[in-house]
């Protein structure tokens, strides 16, 4: 039991109520042997950063379908940094317009996944990111 388990927080910030995608990803990461902390719907950036701190996760996965990603993502990155968790890698899944992707990556988002992304790809990227 001495191997380091990858711990992932899967969270849904903002007000849209569709969490199917988040659940599919949570399940896929579980089946890849990771420990996934699932927070449920309608989380504020503050709640997500607090949970990431208490759970000492390696990765935060955000599911955003509401279009509010350009407001939510930077706020969450800022709070993680403020808490001293600069090393935490943040991924986003959901509906993200192509033109926003470069800016999100610049801010420090590690990976972005839209409809049709494969869970194998996500698992591989998460493993790669926490090496």
């Amino acid at each position: 039991m001495t191997d380091r388990k990858i711990r992932v927080l899967v969270a849904k910030p903002g007000l849209d109520g569709h969490d199917r995608g988040a659940k599919v990803v949570a399940r896929a990461l579980r089946d890849a042997g990771m420990e996934v902390i699932y927070t449920g719907l309608r989380q504020t950036p503050e709640m997500i950063a607090e949970a990431a701190l208490q759970e000492d996760v390696d990765v935060v996965g955000l599911s955003i379908l509401s279009g509010a990603h350009m407001a939510l993502a930077p706020r969450i990155l800022e709070l993680l940094k403020k808490n001293g968790q600069d090393q935490v890698r943040v991924f986003i899944g959901g509906i993200i317009p192509d033109e926003d992707m470069p800016r999100l990556k610049e801010m420090g988002i590690t990976g972005i996944y839209g409809p049709g992304a494969s869970t194998d790809e996500i698992i591989r990227d998460v493993r790669e990111a926490v090496k």
């Binding site: 191997d3 380091r4 711990r7 089946d31 990771m34 420990e35 699932y38 449920g40």
Partner: protein
């Protein structure tokens, strides 16, 4: 600054980091835990257990809220969920029901995967409790995995064990079986607004009446827990039954009161000391078992060990003969 010093000063990031080290059984974690150990022993440990879907997480959420409303004590929650026996992965979902607690610096919630442990809590839960205790969390709530009948390890860990039932889960025969109901210091019937609550209460009450009071000090892992002969002591603790509706916060005052009464009973009867001692002894013995096993295996050539295993696999010798051979050097 050292991790332990930061933790004693209330640094939450340092606390979270140490919890990870301890959970992963890292050497740094061991030494920090050793430094913190003298600061432990102040918290009241509340175990919350019960079948899946009885509302444990919602109840823990409300219980923590209630403590935060009525006391200045910091509250830690350790929420254990099962690991997959096949992949080792886990989805830890207890936080979903605990969103009311976010934003309160006096509450710290940590999810834990059971990582192969079968007793309802993880192997490292006891050590995680010690870290929170040293960090000044005076109320520590341990929520077990959804428990069946025999996941009773939490009773060795906690001062007060709360067993959560819900209407419609079983008849009186379920209630007189040994196991999970026996470890209750406080019985909660959650979802008490549902039909059938009277039947559940009647069944539990009659079970309590049937019971011979026994002194309960939980000892050795996996072995029979030590039980003294039935007592006729009139001050004997009889688990109260508290009805709650956790989703609406109903019955929580009564639950906090029942836990406080049990805590007072532990102090007066001397059971708190007895339970603490039994817990530390069993913790030490479990560690000793592991350490002895490791040390022993170091002295056995892998080849020889493999050959012996093969003989067991091919049914040439039995596992117990193999153990005798390993210890004494001659088969049979």
């Amino acid at each position: 600054m050292s991790l332990t010093k930061s933790i004693l000063e209330g640094n939450r990031l340092a606390l979270a980091r140490l919890l990870t080290q301890v959970e992963n059984d890292l050497t740094e974690g061991h030494s920090s835990l050793a430094e913190l150990f003298p600061y432990t022993g102040k918290a009241h440990l509340i175990g919350v257990t019960g079948a899946p879907g009885t509302g444990k997480s919602s109840l823990v959420n409300q219980l923590a809220l209630q403590y935060r409303k009525t006391t200045n004590k910091k509250v830690a929650i350790i929420a254990v969920d099962p690991s997959s026996p096949f992949t080792g992965g886990a989805v830890l979902g207890d936080r979903v029901r605990m969103r009311d607690l976010s934003g309160d610096e006096g509450v710290f919630i940590r999810s834990m995967a059971s990582r192969g442990s079968l007793g309802g809590v993880a192997q490292k839960t006891a050590s995680i409790v010690q870290v929170f205790d040293a960090a000044g969390y005076e109320i520590i709530i341990i929520e077990t995995v959804g428990a069946g009948q025999s996941e009773v390890d939490v009773a060795r860990l906690a001062h007060t064990t709360v067993v959560v039932e819900a209407p419609g889960l079983g008849d009186e025969i379920q209630a007189i079986k040994a196991g999970i109901l026996e470890i209750a210091d406080v019985l909660v019937i959650n979802k008490a607004d549902r039909p059938g609550v009277e039947n559940t209460e009647r069944a539990l009450r009659s079970t309590l009446k049937l019971g011979h009071p026994v002194k309960r000090v939980f000892r050795h892992h996996g072995k029979t827990m030590a039980v003294d002969a039935p007592t006729t002591d009139p001050h004997f603790w009889i688990p109260p039954i508290v009805k709650t509706v956790a989703t609406e916060g109903k019955g929580l005052n009564e639950l906090v009161e029942a836990i406080a009464k049990h805590a007072a009973h532990l102090d007066q009867s001397g059971d708190r000391v007895a339970r603490d001692r039994a817990r530390l002894q069993s913790e030490m013995e479990i560690l000793l078992q592991g350490a002895l096993m490791n040390r022993f295996l170091e002295h056995i050539p892998q080849e020889q060990y493999g050959e012996l295993l093969e003989k067991v696999f091919s049914r040439n010798i039995s596992p117990s003969e193999a153990v005798k051979f390993l210890l004494n050097g001659n088969p049979k």
